[in-house]
């Protein structure tokens, strides 16, 4: 039986942990709402853009742009999106594990696989794994801007166009709801037209034109400019999904932690009261037996 003092100390500690987890949950909830808003605002833009690309790519020879052309995959680049901070349940573990298992499955057929990582949690995970890690971007999700996403996207496109890599993949947590995230490993480059087609219900999609479309300045020019843009947007969107997922995962994890702290507190308080009662009983018995002895 631990001493009363030890139990009291434990109660205080559990109480303050509960306070911290509750505060973290509230912060995550507020941030989640903001992240969700941004994600929602982004969707129509991403959708229109992918519509344009699928229309453009439909009648185009894939060889006309390096971003569309498929090369035999020898050298692969994988971008993993993780968070800088933990305490978000299985959020980081899931995406890291998915990326790692992808690498395990495909490394035999590739000459070289390089990981680029967003977030300290991914960096720490892959540090001890037998895989080349390239650039690590930190402090991205915390204060995500479109410029930052575009910068990362531009580096990916450059590495691909320069021929350092034959394909580029991205692994991230897709935001399903506050309590559900789904890990996605998607091919970013070469571009497969219409990657998000599942989002637009058939009746909402505009009818494909029957007349030839005019392109200004030219079809080739429009294509050359819009393809890198679509990669930047894809990366930005994946980052936004990651932010929302992180906040959702943290909210759920902290909610569970707060609940556990409450339960634990009830259990130790009971233990404390029992111990206190036991001491009182013992003391009373000592007193009564003492006075009984004096009487005799």
């Amino acid at each position: 039986m631990p001493s009363l003092k030890a139990i009291r100390r434990r109660i205080t500690s559990v109480k303050s942990t509960g306070k911290i987890t509750r505060a973290m949950k509230l912060v995550a909830t507020a941030k989640l709402r903001r992240a969700q808003e941004r994600l929602l605002q982004m969707r129509p833009y991403a959708m229109r853009l992918s519509e344009m690309i699928s229309e453009l790519a439909a009648g185009t020879d894939p060889e006309s742009s390096p971003l569309l052309a498929t090369r035999p995959p020898k050298r692969t680049l994988m971008l993993v999106l993780t968070s800088d901070r933990g305490l978000a349940g299985a959020y980081n573990a899931n995406v890291n594990r998915a990326a790692w298992s992808w690498v395990q499955r495909h490394k035999d057929k590739r000459d070289h696989i390089e990981m680029r990582i967003v977030g300290k949690k991914g960096r720490d995970y892959f540090k001890s794994r037998a895989v080349t890690t390239g650039h690590v971007y930190t402090d991205v999700l915390h204060n995500l801007t479109q410029d930052r996403a575009t910068g990362i996207g531009r580096e990916l496109v450059a590495a691909y166009v320069d021929g350092h890599f034959d394909e580029v993949f991205i692994a991230y947590n897709e935001f399903k709801s506050a309590i559900a995230q789904k890990v996605q490993v998607q091919r970013l480059l070469p571009i497969q037209p219409d990657p998000w087609s599942e989002e637009a219900p058939a009746h909402e999609r505009p009818v494909r034109p029957t007349v030839d479309t005019i392109f200004e300045p030219s079809k080739q020019d429009v294509l050359q400019a819009i393809l890198p843009l679509s990669i930047h947007v894809h990366v930005y969107r994946a980052l936004l999904e990651s932010v929302a997922s992180e906040m959702g995962a943290r909210m759920t994890a902290m909610d569970a932690a707060t609940k556990n702290a409450g339960e634990l507190l009830a259990r130790i308080t009971l233990q404390y009261n029992r111990a206190r009662q036991a001491i009182i009983t013992t003391e009373l018995m000592e007193i009564t037996s003492g006075s009984e002895a004096l009487k005799g």
């Binding site: 929602l40 605002q41 982004m42 129509p44 833009y45 229109r48 853009l49 519509e51 344009m52 229309e55 453009l56 479109q146 505009p206 009818v207 034109p209 007349v211 030839d212 479309t213 005019i214 392109f215 200004e216 300045p217 020019d221 429009v222 400019a225 819009i226 947007v233 930005y236």
Partner: protein, 136 residues
């Protein structure tokens, strides 16, 4: 015809319009109902949407594309879209002066990335001032 203007920050305009003028890289493009399908790259400039029974809507557009999907569906996909009420005239004037000064010093290396970025700032500020001036 149905006009939609989308940016990464959300849908900026969606509704019925009589006509649309968009700043394409090769000059302004006017779109009326029944226009042939078109896909044009845009420059930094002013777009004008005419809504029936209202003052024409002047908007700052920063790059992107105009896409006439069919005669009565037009969308503009752009990084930035602002109306006059979103622009602080005094701040933009200062920005324009700064940007113009910076641009003046680098006339030699025209078409370099820095020059283009500076030119872009001047264009953006000029367009913003034009759009503010359109305030009804």
């Amino acid at each position: 015809m149905q006009v939609t203007i989308v940016t990464p920050q959300g849908v900026k305009f969606a509704g019925e319009a009589q006509s649309l003028v968009a700043p394409s890289v090769s000059g302004d493009v006017g779109v009326l109902p029944g226009h042939q399908p078109l896909m044009a790259a845009l420059r930094t400039g002013e777009a004008i949407v005419t809504v029936p029974g209202q003052e024409p809507l002047h908007l700052v557009i920063d790059g992107g594309y105009v896409h006439v999907i069919s005669g009565d569906h037009v969308s503009i996909v752009t990084e930035l879209c602002e109306g006059w009420h979103e622009i602080d005239q005094a701040a933009v004037k200062t920005q324009l002066d700064e940007a113009t000064n910076e641009l003046g010093g680098t006339r030699d290396d025209i078409a370099s990335q820095t020059w283009l970025a500076r030119k872009h700032r001047v264009d953006l500020a000029t367009t913003r001032l034009r759009v503010v001036a359109s305030k009804p």
